[in-house]
């Protein structure tokens, strides 16, 4: 039992480091996500700016804009995790070398670190450009962490489905958006509350909703991934 767990952990780390190496070589996902986020940020900053929104609705509007820019940026970069295996014709080699569970978990871990890392870079930039000051940074980051967790689970799973279909680029946001919408709505609300006040009473409810959503998505993905991967 212990050996099996060790094997699984080793396999996940192997898949994760393979993803990291392949990303380090091409830098396609990281560059596209960062560039897309920065372009969106510049557009938002130019068209709305820090002073066009009144102080009361600032946190609502800016939290929604931040989440939307991160969602659309992720839809460009995170979908590549399985699509590139098909494009580079490495899918069969991967199938032979590891089991579906470790492949999914390794790729999910990579996607999660990628999007959470980028959100950590983009959020301060957004705050500086939009004069958006967060009152409860700790809660803001915790919500960002859980939201990116849910986002990367769903994105990794849908990426596996999309990699087997045609018109991959257009299909990914079409399939992910309706599924991710409850997560985006709740995290936008929670981010806005943590940015605008120091009151912590909302946190437990939002935390439970986000974590149960991510939990269901995680176990759903694990159960169904084998059916997609063996296709």
């Amino acid at each position: 039992m212990e050996t099996n767990q060790l094997n699984l952990a080793n396999k996940i780390i192997l898949i994760f480091s393979k993803e990291l190496k392949s990303e380090w070589r091409s830098k396609v996902s990281i560059n596209s996500i960062v560039l897309f986020s920065v372009v969106t940020l510049v557009l938002i900053s130019y068209s709305i700016g820090p002073y066009k929104i009144d102080e009361n609705s600032k946190s609502d509007v800016f939290s929604a804009l931040l989440m939307l820019s991160l969602f659309f940026s992720s839809s460009i970069g995170l979908s590549r995790v399985f699509v590139k295996e098909v494009e580079q014709k490495t899918e069969i080699t991967l199938k032979i070398s590891s089991d579906p569970l470790s492949i999914f978990l390794g790729k999910f871990l990579f996607n999660f670190i990628l999007i959470f890392g980028i959100s950590i870079i983009i959020t301060p930039l957004f705050c500086i450009l939009m004069e958006f000051f967060i009152k409860n940074l700790c809660l803001f980051l915790s919500i960002m962490f859980i939201s990116m967790l849910g986002l990367s689970i769903v994105s990794t799973f849908i990426s596996a489905i999309v990699s087997k279909a045609s018109m991959k680029g257009a299909l990914f946001p079409i399939l992910t958006f309706p599924i991710l919408m409850p997560l985006i709505l709740e995290s936008t609300k929670a981010l806005s509350l943590s940015a605008s006040s120091e009151d912590k009473s909302f946190f437990l409810q939002s935390f439970l909703i986000l974590i149960s959503y991510s939990g269901i998505a995680f176990f759903g993905s694990i159960i169904l991934f084998e059916k997609v991967w063996k296709e």
């Binding site: 045609s166 599924i179 919408m181 409850p182 998505a217 759903g220 169904l224 059916k227 997609v228 296709e231």
Partner: protein, 216 residues
């Protein structure tokens, strides 16, 4: 069954306009839309649950009949969701003054529409029938896991203007007497319409599939 369904639908329409008395707390006769709006919404959720069951059965048994049934259910679910959205928007205009105000229930139905549409787009983007059946079943099941958030969590967590006409937040039935009878009659009539169309739809698709197989 068809004759019985026709009779029952006609009977329910008559009940909803002549038997049910006017209700208090609503503008004019606007509340009567509940006899059509709630049943179509119920049918769209029923279609979603049944399609998840058929998707599960397809993944388990790899029988195309389940996939055909699932596709048929989702198409009908989409149709009934559109009807629920339109009837809800008409009620919202009369009661709240705007067709659309992003009430949590409106968010839920919109997302259900998006999921149904995404399923159909996914199907059309895969040419291989076996792969199409497999992947669309997986997507239908995966979205089914997360649908409770749309249908049960969002409408209860966020503030909603949507009335709890049938069952209150305390779990008590809110309708009584002739209004409840009429509502139940319409619920049965829309379920009958749905089941009839569903039966015709999947049978046509299944015949087409069998013909394609015999041609090959």
């Amino acid at each position: 069954m068809i004759y019985f369904a026709f009779f029952w639908v006609a009977f329910s329409i008559v009940l909803s306009f002549l038997y049910a008395p006017p209700a208090e707390g609503f503008k004019g006769e606007s509340y009567r839309i509940v006899f059509y709006h709630v049943p179509v919404a119920w049918v769209s959720v029923l279609a979603f649950f049944l399609s998840a069951y058929n998707s599960f059965m397809y993944l388990k048994k790899k029988d195309y009949l389940y996939d055909i049934k699932s596709k048929s259910l989702i198409s009908l679910g989409l149709l009934f969701s559109i009807l629920a959205t339109i009837s809800g928007a008409i009620f919202a205009k009369i009661e709240w003054g705007a067709y659309w105000n992003w009430d949590p229930r409106q968010i839920s139905i919109t997302l259900l529409l998006f999921i149904y549409s995404a399923y159909l787009i996914l199907r059309s983007s895969i040419e291989n029938p076996r792969r199409r059946a497999n992947l669309s079943s997986v997507y239908a099941l995966f979205s089914f896991f997360l649908v409770p958030f749309l249908v049960f969590v969002i409408p209860r967590v966020y503030f909603s203007l949507h009335p709890d006409l049938i069952i209150s937040s305390k779990g008590k039935i809110q309708m009584f007497g002739p209004i409840l009878h009429t509502f139940l009659a319409n619920l049965i009539s829309f379920t009958l319409i749905f089941l009839l169309i569903y039966k015709i739809d999947w049978k046509i698709d299944y015949e087409i599939y069998k013909k394609e197989m015999s041609d090959e």
